[in-house]
Amino acid sequence: MRCRIGVYVCMCGSNISDYVDVEKVREIAAENPCVVLAKTTMFACSDSTQKEIIEDIKVNELNAIVIASCSPKLHLFTFRNVAERAGLNPYNYVQVNIREQCSWAHSDNPKFATLKAIQLVKAGIDKAKNSVSLEPIMIKAEHSALVIGAGITGMKAALALANTGTKVTLIEKEHYVGGRIAQWNRLFPHNDPAEKLVKTLYEEIIINDNIYLYTGAELISKSGSVGNFIVKIKIKPRYFKSGYLIEQCIEKAIESCPVEFDDPFNYGLTKIKAIQQNHIGQFPYYPVIDMSKCTKCGICTDICADIDLEQKEEELELNIGAILIATGAESYQPPSGEFGYGVIPGVITLQMFRRLIDLNGEKLIYNHKQIKRIAYIYCVGSRQYDGENQYCSRYCCTAAVHTSLIVKEKFPEIVNIHLTRGVRTYGKQEILYNKSNLQKDIYLQFDDTPPEISEENGMINIKVVDILTVKKTIELDIDLVVLVTSMVPRKNKELENILKLPIGRDKFYNEVHPKLKPVETMIDGVFIGGNCQAPMNISESVKSSLSAVSKMNALIGKGEIQLEPSLATIDKSICVWCDECTKICPSDAIIKTEYNGKPVAEINEANCKGCGMCLPVCPTNAIQLIGYSDVEIESMIDALASYSPEFTI
């Protein structure tokens, strides 16, 4: 217990002293046997008083101070700093709010305000008596990051991290980097070519000494906590022995490979072999064998000595300070029959349509038929009436409108008909919508009645109740129906389990708070960026991952992490391991350990945020929060409860 306490009662000009008899407060404080010195002061926060306090602490060897002044929100840090400058632990400083919560709140009754101030100061003195000196907890942090997913979002983040001095391991599950954008080819709003974007980033990455890029790589385990994660990565082989040469033989090997199947990159519009070369916009320029399809017939190995079908997976263990998840999203796959998908041949998704545009020359041909009239049906797989995807998928309106511009540019004779649910080309993207209107695209809008699709003699018929023309039912003959399909969360149970990622209502990964902590997850040191969090366009994804970089650098850039010392502590001798605290802890900060042969709970200091949620649920009262221990709180209650007979009506 501390028993050399200094008390300062601030007048705050007249803000306090007009209503509170500060001299009376000082007198009563001075009566406390542990109070060595009690003063009143005009402005406690002024420079001269600060110096005086420092002098007092030193001369009188004070071991705690109490300042009764304004709200701690204004000057807690000022006075903690004063304590520190005098060589006193800042946590042995107690601020008592006698302005906002006393003199001002009770300016209508100075007598009561004085009585209340006396009690508040008494309670403050008791809190100071029981205060403990605390040091910030420092934990060592690896100055290195793991970025999961090498789409645009992850690549950009990796580069920014590396260029600000952080060592980065960038892993990509596929054998090529670039994510989905290569399939889109030309990107809204300015028609940037995807290939150029990916190439720029890829080339910067491979020459950057701070980045280790692994393709065909997945996270398989994670242990440790913020600043000190230990991660294991599994790397699939490409089944090529050596380096970077793309030998002549590869072409021949691909030609002679007997295994041929629908190329997922082109949504089955073309075929691909088990030995594959990258598509335009995918990097590295290096072939790979898809072992899930390869029959190991050995024909290719005879052609290319570089091929080794017996290559094994490798595992890698790394120490990592922080993790960024940039795993992106998937496109919604309509079930068979939704708007005729999979049943009527001329119904395809927007993603497939983009490949079709690229693969066609002067005329747009699908299913051996020249396409002249296209209907785009919006909000497929998003804003569902009954389905589970209630959310708006944000990027698709603009993507569809942009597609219609590309179509018109390449195939001017084509008529674009948009069946929307309200076009959401927000912000500057509105200009694309304006352009689409200018090129005489037709816009119809449906509401709660989805369009009906049927087929007769190779012609598709759409019936739509158009709310823009007094809910008239309009019939359209169409050559091709493009379903504007949404972004859906990627199915990645393993990753979610490994990282214990919180999933939101919309099944995307959840941030802690959309404004306060928009790229942070509840797991300290694990960040999210881009489409794994929510549908967004490229620019927005990059912004979010760059935001995450800034938070990651602030966290691990100094090589150590400073934590507030007001954390929970568990008295293991009385813990009975009921599991209640682990269930309620929002920060995954309680771990199971052993004490005298029995299972008990223990606080993981790196994760504990000091919220105290675990305190009330402990059946044996084994948990104390530093700074808010039973003795501190109860001694304050005692002082405040001491009855003052003058408080009467």
Binding site: S14, N163, Y391, C397, K428, I431, H513, S547, V549
Partner: protein, 434 residues
């Protein structure tokens, strides 16, 4: 011109604008160890966000989010804030530095001010309170608003009568009428433009009668009626102080309108109108709220769900553009619009109408640079030279843009944009290409 090189290491980054984007960028950089100078032209930091009621789609109270960030900024050892100050004459100094002139306008109150408001109490001058969007009055000696930071008074010298009462009553001796504008030169390595946006001035639309009809409010005025610290502690009609019960929202006021030179969508008005409608239904359970819209753009995370929540609460959504508004004798307003549902011209009477005004560029950034101008885009916003790969890059190397200075966006997007700007500034200062 000779520069004072002694202060070359005082700051690394200049952040212009102390709204939510500027604050976020400054904090991000400060936590990474950079020295930041944050310059705000207003008397307090916090921008427009600090004045909002609750924010969509979570309905958190805006102050609950802004004030902790504001005080974190104010006490961060790596951030120096200049409020009521402006930046001028930015120029490149060699390859890696910029110089700029910092102009500190006099507020006639020194840092000794404790925010006690005694001067405000005694000041005899009452003028319109711009922080309450003209809904109520304020004094000439005043604290800008209750949660202002710094909580230091200012003297509105234009309206001051120099009666000297404030000086007499101030125990801290903080009133100083001798203050003058101060100019100094600062040197920094990188600059973040976070100058925010301007609201569309609805008075430009004579056919809506804004500025003429009393019961026609802008959405920002309604916002102030909905904050817990609101001036009337209730939602009232300005004309007669009656509690309204048929409230209308007119969307796309000043946005998506080529004739006004603003063809783009403001990105936030649909959502803030739905939010206000929900808050109104809470504050005035008996009131009918109708939103007249062209398209509802509820695109962000949780937005469409929030829109549906509004529908579920009974907010009436009518698809149709308002052609004009006229006033009845009792102050009620008649809205004429083409009802898309029925295809006919209709009229509706409301006793309070809110114009959901759009976002326009704040052209202040154009005046910041001395020789090489910062390029703007077709809509007057700071031009993003690499929108997809480096969204905060501008036409000047080392100058980055954060928040609505680059285009309309909501608060979460502004915060992310500020995050990107701080990262790109950091990459730039480390000498790396980004």
């Amino acid at each position: 011109m000779a520069y004072n090189y002694s202060n070359i290491n005082d700051y690394d980054v200049l952040v212009i604008g102390g709204g939510i984007a500027g604050i976020e960028a400054a904090l991000n950089l400060a936590y990474q160890g950079y020295k930041v100078i944050l310059v705000e032209k207003d008397l307090s930091i916090g921008g427009k966000m600090i004045h909002l009621s609750k924010v969509f789609p979570t309905l958190d109270c805006a102050a609950c989010i802004t004030t902790p960030k504001v005080s974190e900024t104010a006490r961060h050892p790596n951030i120096k804030i200049y409020t009521y100050s402006e930046i001028k004459d930015i120029e490149k100094l060699g390859e890696r530095y910029f110089t700029a002139t910092l102009v500190q306008k006099p507020r006639y109150v020194t840092d000794a001010c404790t925010g006690c408001q005694l001067c405000e109490e005694k000041c005899p001058v009452v003028v319109e309170d711009e922080y309450q969007w003209g809904l109520v009055g304020r004094k000439a000696a005043y604290i800008p608003f209750s949660i202002a930071n710094p909580r230091i008074a200012a003297i509105d010298i234009e309206n001051c009568t120099f009666c000297g009462l404030c000086e007499k009553v101030c125990a801290a001796g903080a009133i100083d009428f001798t203050q003058e504008e101060k100019r100094s030169t600062i040197v920094v390595k990188s600059i973040i433009i976070a100058t925010g946006f301007n609201l569309f001035q609805s008075e430009r639309l004579s056919y809506y009668g804004a500025g003429k009809f009393k019961n026609l409010l802008t959405s920002m005025q309604m916002e102030r009626q909905l904050v817990p610290t609101r001036p009337y502690n209730n939602v009232l009609r300005p004309k007669d102080g009656k509690v309204p019960d048929r409230i209308a929202y007119v969307l796309c006021v000043g946005s998506r309108d080529k004739s006004l030179g603003n063809p783009i969508c403001s990105q936030v008005c649909c959502m803030y109108s739905i939010k206000q409608a929900q808050l109104l239904m809470g504050a005035l359970p008996m009131a009918d709220v109708t939103i007249y819209y062209i398209d509802i753009r509820a695109f962000g995370k949780g937005f469409d769900e929030f829109y549906k929540q509004g529908v579920g609460m009974g907010v009436n959504f009518v698809k149709g553009k308002i052609a004009n508004i006229s006033e009845k004798e009792n102050g009620d307003l008649i809205l004429r619009y083409e009802d898309i549902d029925s295809g006919v011209l209709k009229e509706a009477t409301h006793d309070l109408v809110v114009l959901s005004v759009g976002i326009l560029t704040n052209p202040d950034f154009e005046k910041l640079f001395k020789t090489t101008p910062l390029l703007k885009d077709d809509y007057g916003y700071v031009r993003q030279v690499s929108e997809l790969l480096s969204p905060s890059k501008t036409s000047i190397d080392g100058v980055f843009v954060a928040g609505t200075a680059s285009g309309p966006m909501d608060i979460p997007d502004s915060i992310l944009s500020a995050g990107a700007a701080s990262t790109e500034a950091s990459v730039y200062m480390k000498g790396g290409a980004s």
